[in-house]
């Protein structure tokens, strides 16, 4: 491979990291949305890129994905506190923030991310045949694996308030309302997913971004709305120089995150959230530190590890939004390209890790000076504009429907994980071959 191509790719990947960091300051803005915008720009301004080797643009996108997967939780950590009513379902991130140690939470997640980058760059290149084998084994069983995870999500929904009503019926309702709303969310999200998979209303030229309004509506916008109406005072944050983490926390958190990341990377329709739920039980993960480390490992393995499999000679597995977008203009074919990609992941992973501490300090300063509600308002507006820009008014309609559904878990304190049925239900049904029949039943096909 020519040295100039390698140098251009390195520079492009570092620019990608910087852009990912800039995008990460807005909580809820997903890098796949930024990639979609980049693709739109690359296609409309194709003349600018004609003399550029496609691997340079690939390096740019890879830099964005690596940077984002390591940095995007930082702003959510600082700018998305929840109020007391969420105490029973509060994730460690929020607890750490309200105790003034958000920086420690960030660094624990970053430790997990760093471990994942080590696994991807130093371990993955040694075992390409494992991935070919794993794919061959998993492919025919994907539908029931996803089905079992869905079943597990439904089984593990639980009532978080305990019958505070005065009469028997009120107590009964209080006990069941969260379970029922959880199941309601799951079913409606599944039907919405089937609709978009079989009869999307997004214009055909942007149909490959059909899922974008759904994810923005189900997850990002409701989070922004809830944060916007939250009136919690964020205490002064302490910038620690070390994190509490015993060796067994690192080992167990990494094991849980590794299994979750691999599961999500290899099984279609799976994301790190539900995968972590399963592998956390499998590895008997307990405690906030293990959760945070496991989350970091799983997230990076899913976003970056799955993307690396796309470039691995003999595997060439296209999983995740980034790989699908890159495959529109670049087909990886040679071992040199794989080594270049491995180098870019190692480099951008190291640079992103070094940026995390600085970025976390920046966010800790910002949250003291600027009302976090403004970040939510700006983020929300930006996401809506981006969605309309990419998927037109039809996408906006989908976004509104998804937002209404996405608010249900926030209003009734059921789990947001149920919303992932939007992806898991259609993927599992299609893999099993029952997708068209179910779509026909609903009149979508």
């Amino acid at each position: 491979m020519e040295t100039s191509i390698v140098i251009y790719s390195i520079v492009a990947s570092l620019v990608g990291v910087v852009i990912a960091m800039a995008a990460s300051i807005i909580p809820g803005l997903h890098i796949y949305n930024v990639i979609a915008l980049t693709m739109l720009f690359a296609f409309t301004a194709a003349d600018l890129f004609t003399n550029l080797h496609p691997i340079v643009l690939t390096g740019f996108m890879l830099g964005m994905v690596v940077g984002f997967s390591m940095l995007f939780t930082v702003s959510s950590q600082y700018f998305q506190p929840n109020d007391e009513s969420f105490r029973s379902i509060m994730l460690p991130h929020e607890r750490f923030l309200l105790e003034g140690r958000a920086h420690e939470a960030v660094m624990l997640g970053a430790l997990g991310s760093l471990i994942a980058i080590f696994i991807i760059t130093l371990f993955f290149p040694l075992i390409p045949s494992f991935f070919s084998l794993a794919r061959a084994i998993i492919q025919p069983h994907g539908y029931w694996l996803v089905g079992m995870v869905m079943f597990f999500i439904l089984m593990t929904e639980w009532p978080k308030d305990h019958g505070v009503g005065k009469t028997g019926w009120q107590k009964f309702w209080d006990g069941w309302v969260q379970l029922l709303m959880g199941y309601f969310t799951f079913i409606v999200a599944g039907i919405l997913g089937m609709f978009v998979f079989y009869r999307t209303i997004v214009p055909v030229e942007n149909a490959f971004q059909s899922l974008m309004p759904l994810f923005v509506g189900l997850f990002a916008v409701p989070s922004q709305i809830m944060t916007f109406i939250t009136r919690v005072k964020v205490p002064k944050q302490h910038i620690c120089s070390s994190v509490e983490s015993a060796p067994h926390d690192v080992m167990r958190g990494s094991a849980s995150g590794f299994l979750a990341g691999m599961f999500a990377a290899l099984v279609p329709g799976m994301t790190p959230g539900p995968a972590l739920l399963c592998t956390g039980h499998l590895t008997v993960t307990s405690g906030e530190r293990q959760f945070l480390i496991g989350g970091g490992v799983g997230r990076v393995l899913y976003y970056v590890g799955a993307l690396m499999l796309f470039f691995m000679p003999g595997v060439f597995m296209r999983r995740g939004g980034a790989a699908i977008n890159i495959s529109l203009f670049f087909v990886p074919e040679t071992p040199e390209q794989f080594f270049l990609i491995s180098g870019i992941i190692a480099l951008t992973g190291a640079v992103s890790f070094l940026l995390i501490g600085w970025f976390s300090k920046l966010c800790a300063n910002l949250v003291e000076k600027i009302d976090y509600n403004w970040f939510s308002a700006v983020g929300c507006a930006l996401l809506i504009v981006l969605t309309i820009q990419i998927t037109h008014w039809q996408g906006f309609v989908l976004l509104c429907v998804a937002t209404a559904l996405g608010l249900v878990p926030n209003m009734w304190h059921s789990r947001r994980l149920n919303l992932l049925a939007v992806l898991m239900v259609p993927v599992a049904l299609n893999m099993s071959g029952a997708g068209p029949a179910v779509a026909r039943f609903f009149g979508f096909y």
Binding site: S242, G343, L347, A350
Partner: protein, 295 residues
Amino acid sequence: MNNQSIKQMQITETEADAASVADIADKCPSCGRANPERKKRCAYCCTLTSPRERITVRAMNLSTIILFAAAIVYFAIAVNLKPQYTPISALGESMNFQHVRVLAKVRYLSEFKDKYEKRVTIQLDLEDSKDGGGDDYEGRIKLKAEGEVARELKEKGLLPARGDIIDVSATLFAGKGYRTLSLGTAELLKVVDKSSEFAAVEADVKALLAAPDNFKNKKIKIKEAVIKSKRGNLIIEINDPADAAVTILVFGVDPSKYKEGQKVSVSGMFVFYERGGYWEIKVNEDEPESVVVLN
């Protein structure tokens, strides 16, 4: 265990306790709140305050050196990796759908369009660069570049010429009785050696006909000639600018593109047409500068 050793052990444990108390910070290292009683756990956030259970950010930052080193190694491999070429004769049905890298010589190059004249396909006839492939089927294969890839090859000037040695990475489609390579990206085709055997020899019409055997089956370039007449759908007759009586036929040209009396330069193979019993220049209009109008 005697009394002395028990006493010694007790002293050691007391020293260890004292040491661990000394380790405990005045402030909680996680939340930064004061810990005046130097307790092992923070009263506010329950964090262990002993440094033994903690990993420093500095240590984590230092570990990235390994990643930087790995990145340098990978980049060096990417630049220096010697390509693994597969001989054309080894491309078989068992390798169907595989991405292969081939070092080959271009025998022919052709271009055609689909019936709606929209989708362009460029086809290269390749042969094993080492042994020349000969006439045996095993040593030859066709490489197809279709649609957007074909367009890019032409627009970026990446198309090879006959006789060029190319390095190409492509997908093999092989079954019973057929083998084809399909090019996925224009950049995966590179000319590694420009043909010398097909390099054009400069000559004029008079010199060609004076000693035709010297130029037989060679690629020649006539820098200047005049179109004397047009014949049928594929032939033009050119003459020497200094002597209109000395003429030669050029085969493979669309005469409707040219006018009689135009000055042209012509590049093509100088061959003897045995059925007609005359010498001619055979050109391929797909090749750049096969016939160039000078005035």
